[in-house]
């Protein structure tokens, strides 16, 4: 089959499993997860075939593979639906397929497949453990998730949304995939819906991203009404359309249409990728099961925002050539991205929940990518997108494995502690060696440990892009954020794995099962080797040993010079990334290596600053005060008590009274004398007839209809017999 046809098939298997699991296999846990993994596996296989075929095509970016059919008629024209494979699609497909498959397999272990049913487990709550009697004495073991099959069904739908978003060739279908993922995010964050915190987090995530989606939709509509199409190829690779968009002035703030649409699309991505100021939903989204955090909030869904902005990079940068001042849209993207990178990186060190630290680090890393796109370093951004997906999925799954081990310890000892709190851990290195080593690799990749890890290469490329492009402020802020990243990663690894166990639950933690650790190993492998695909040619010593395949492949997408690092290489950014990565990790280790059980966090010495960071700059409280309270007030006081009860009801009552008066008048003048008296005569006649017919009135509508059908059939048969006779 041709590659284009294969691409059409990629999103379908997970969708099929989404329908099959609830309809047929939902009672059988094993069958459900095999079905889901099979679906994800087929998509993975197709994605790999497409990726390697695409990689072997030269000039793919000028002549992407496309195949579209007519979809929705719009009068004289058609909206088309189709697929589009270019280098960006190919590399995105690569990491999406891998991470999705790994997370599917991991979920089997995470939800305790094969364990007994819990003693008191109920739907909508995490499993609490089951009591097993062995050799005469009872002990507690983890119990299977009560809504096991449902989880895999949701995951299938989610995978469909993501694949759809990646392979599609137009903004409308992308938007559909985008919304499907928003729905799945809501369903999965609120998976344990009996917990109020999970419910609140689900609503918060849904509503916050909806704000961004609204702007994305405005951008979509504006784009369609100006260009008459939503197809990437027709807009983004069409010099004439781009030039027209860049020169036409929009009615808002004197921006060009390209700038306005670019900013609207970017706001959509701000919601999805949790950039400042719409970042508040992502940390709360950690209420969901850990595979959900990994899949939605690290590897795939939040990447969709960056993917979208990268996809529309030609539009955002329309009219810009390297070396000139940035366009308005690029300026916005760069400013928001840079600020978010630092802002989130400052919050992360003050969090104790192992998943929340990772959540803030995700926000920060996505900020890095946005910043890179904003300053025109397109290749670096896409490269970081790919490597980040792998090592962040690895970190999340690793943290899930840690939590799982801790939960095992908690069940074993019966302690009442939070298994996600890093202050309760320590010394897990010995108990969970495989998790430790893979988590270490992920952590090193996140902090940009030199040469060995993928994170180093991609982050270095962003930093050198900023430096060589002349954006010193961006460079300094990102370097600072990278330093903090390394610091909190060092803190996390030290608190979790090194030192001595600080609780007895941590002493009794145990390594997770193979279905959880194998995905960890595979992701760790990619977190290391993937960086070697994109070593810049000008890099000292190593440059050119391995050809810069990634730069050549994806770089062909962007205009010449959009990968600034290639042009003139300076050693300052390289030295900076070395210093911040190693220094931050070392600092994190030094500060936290001797943490005792119950001792206050060393950062508490910072006083007010620590409290401010710990409370996440009070953004939740601020939003509650600015948006939620006024919204409640508007709903309850302004709209309901005042508008509804007073104005609308008042009008209605007036109309009602007028109607009553008119009715009374008609009744007295027309109804009573003429109609009523005439009608009475009819009625008494009818009553008499009715009295005789009431016997067959049983009051059952279905019986009446049945009689009429039977009569119809009988008469039909009779007529048929008469006709044939």
């Amino acid at each position: 089959m041709t590659t284009e046809l294969l691409t059409w098939l990629v999103p379908l298997p997970p969708l099929l499993t989404f329908f099959l699991i609830p309809l047929f296999t939902h009672r059988k846990n094993g069958l459900s997860h095999w079905l889901a993994i099979l679906g994800a596996g087929v998509s993975w296989l197709l994605s790999m075939v497409i990726f390697f075929r695409a990689a072997s095509i030269s000039h793919l970016s000028e002549h992407p593979l496309t195949l579209a059919v007519n979809w929705i008629p719009t009068g004289e024209n058609w909206l088309q639906i189709g697929v589009h494979v270019d280098p960006q699609t190919a590399v995105t497909l690569f990491f999406v397929a891998w991470t999705i498959l790994m997370i599917f397999i991991y979920s089997v272990g995470y939800h305790n497949y094969g364990q007994p049913k819990g003693d008191h487990d109920q739907k909508g709550l995490p499993p609490h453990g089951a009591t097993v009697t062995e050799h005469g004495h009872a002990h507690k073991v983890p119990s299977v998730e009560p809504m096991y099959a449902r989880f895999f069904a949701f995951f299938g739908l989610f995978a469909f949304g993501m694949y759809l978003l990646v392979v599609t060739d137009n903004l409308l279908t992308l938007f559909i995939g985008w919304e499907i993922m928003g729905l799945c995010s809501y369903l999965l964050i609120g998976f344990w819906y009996a917990r109020p915190s999970a419910r609140d987090a689900a609503v918060k995530a849904f509503l916050t991203t909806r704000v961004g989606d609204m702007f994305l939709m405005l951008g979509l509509v504006a784009l369609y009404s100006i260009t008459g199409t939503l197809n990437y190829q027709a807009i983004l690779h069409n010099e004439e359309v781009l030039a027209r968009l860049a020169s036409a002035v929009s009615p808002v703030l004197g921006l060009s249409w390209a700038g306005l649409i670019g900013i609207l699309i970017f706001i959509g991505a701000v919601g999805k990728s949790a950039q400042f100021p719409l970042h508040v939903w992502l940390p709360d989204a950690m209420e969901g099961p850990t595979p959900v955090s990994a899949m939605i909030h690290a590897a795939t869904m939040v990447s969709a925002g960056v993917y979208l902005v990268a996809r529309f990079f030609p539009l955002i940068s329309a009219g810009w050539t390297p070396g000139e001042p940035l366009t308005a849209a690029m300026l916005v993207v760069a400013a928001i991205g840079t600020f978010t990178a630092l802002f989130a990186a400052t919050i992360a060190p003050a969090q104790d929940d192992i998943k929340r630290v990772l959540a803030y680090s995700t926000i920060s890393q996505l900020g890095f990518m946005m910043a890179a796109l904003g300053i025109g370093a397109y290749v670096a951004a896409v490269f970081h997108l790919v490597t980040h997906a792998f090592f962040k999925a690895l970190l999340f799954l690793g943290s899930g494995s840690v939590i799982h081990g801790m939960e095992h310890g908690v069940l074993h000892t019966g302690e009442h502690i939070d298994p996600q709190d890093m202050q309760n851990m320590g010394g897990l290195r010995a108990r969970m060696p495989l998790t430790f080593w893979t988590f270490l690799i992920g952590g090193l990749a996140l902090s940009g440990f030199p040469v060995l890890t993928a994170g180093f290469w991609s982050k270095d490329e962003i930093l050198s892009g900023a430096f060589n492009g002349g954006f010193v402020l961006v460079f300094v802020v990102l370097a600072l954020a990278a330093l903090l990243t390394a610091f909190y990663t060092g803190r996390q690894i030290t608190l979790t794995f090194l030192g001595k166990p600080r609780t007895s639950a941590a002493e009794h933690a145990c390594e997770s099962r193979w279905s959880m650790t194998i995905p960890l190993c595979i992701l760790a492998f990619f977190s290391v080797v993937l960086g070697w695909a994109g070593i810049p040619e000008k890099f000292p010593l190593l440059g050119g040993v391995i050809p810069n395949w990634f730069g050549a492949f994806v770089g062909s997408m962007a205009a010449e010079g959009a990968h600034g690092a290639e042009a003139h290489h300076s050693s300052i950014p390289l030295l900076t990334s070395l210093v911040v990565a190693l220094g931050g990790l070392l600092l994190g280790w030094l500060v936290y290596r001797n943490t005792e059980a119950g001792a206050p966090d060393p950062l508490k010495k910072l006083g007010m600053v620590y409290v401010l960071l710990r409370r996440k700059y009070y953004f939740d409280e601020l939003y509650h005060f600015i948006f939620i309270r006024p919204a409640m007030w508007i709903a309850e006081v302004l709209v309901y008590a005042w508008g509804d009860l007073k104005i609308i009801d008042g009008i209605l009552h007036f109309i009602g009274n007028a109607g009553t008066w008119l009715g009374n008048f008609l009744r007295g003048a027309v109804d009573q004398p003429i109609i009523s008296n005439g009608g009475d005569a009819l009625a008494s006649g009818a009553r008499e007839a009715g009295g005789r017919l009431r016997v067959i009135q049983t009051g059952r509508v279905q019986q009446y209809m049945l009689i009429s059908i039977v009569v119809t059939v009988l008469v039909g048969i009779l007529l048929l017999l008469l006709a044939s006779a």
């Binding site: 929705i72 008629p73 004289e76 019986q703 049945l706 039977v710 119809t712 059939v713 048969i717």
Partner: protein, 171 residues
């Protein structure tokens, strides 16, 4: 057999099976889910009949709106019926016999008509002409009257539904 025929046969059998489930399954929620499958099948059938516009409309109106309304109704009235008792009334066998008779009768009557076995199509191959349809719907010489009446029906249904379902305060 052409591919189209195979697609039709698969669609038809899945749809009819799902329809049987709709009228026979005990849990109302499941019935609603099966109904969605039926509606999907009908959508595909529309597409096979070259009416892409109505396929989309079917998807949007039936699956998007009506099925969701039904699911809401099922959820709102879910405590009214125990799923363990039979879901059909006492006359169900008579109903089944007459439904079957109706089906047999319909097919028999149709099979003696020569148009029944037509295979050539007269519809334009690209689907219905939407511009013509749209113009005809608002054309005074066309279908503007039925169109307006339908709008009125819809409006009346909307107002009526709100009126009937609204909770009245006891005076």
């Amino acid at each position: 057999m052409t591919i189209m025929q195979i697609i039709f046969l698969i669609t038809a059998s899945v749809t009819l099976f799902a329809a049987l489930m709709v009228v026979s399954t005990r849990k109302m929620m499941h019935a609603a889910m099966w109904l969605i499958l039926v509606l999907f099948g009908v959508t595909i059938t529309f597409a096979l009949l070259e009416t892409r516009f109505f396929a989309i409309v079917q998807l949007v109106i039936y699956i998007g709106a009506i099925a969701i309304l039904i699911i809401f109704a099922v959820m709102l009235t879910r405590r009214s019926m125990n799923a363990d008792v039979p879901q059909v009334n006492r006359n169900w066998w008579l109903v089944m016999v007459s439904s079957l008779a109706l089906f047999v009768g319909l097919v028999t009557v149709m099979s003696v008509w020569e148009g029944f076995f037509v295979t050539a199509r007269t519809a334009p191959p690209g689907g219905e002409n939407l511009v013509q349809l749209g113009t005809a719907l608002v054309d005074p010489n066309g279908f503007v009257l039925p169109f307006e009446v339908a709008s009125l029906v819809l409006l009346a249904a909307m107002v009526g539904a709100i009126y009937v379902a609204a909770e009245r305060k006891e005076k």
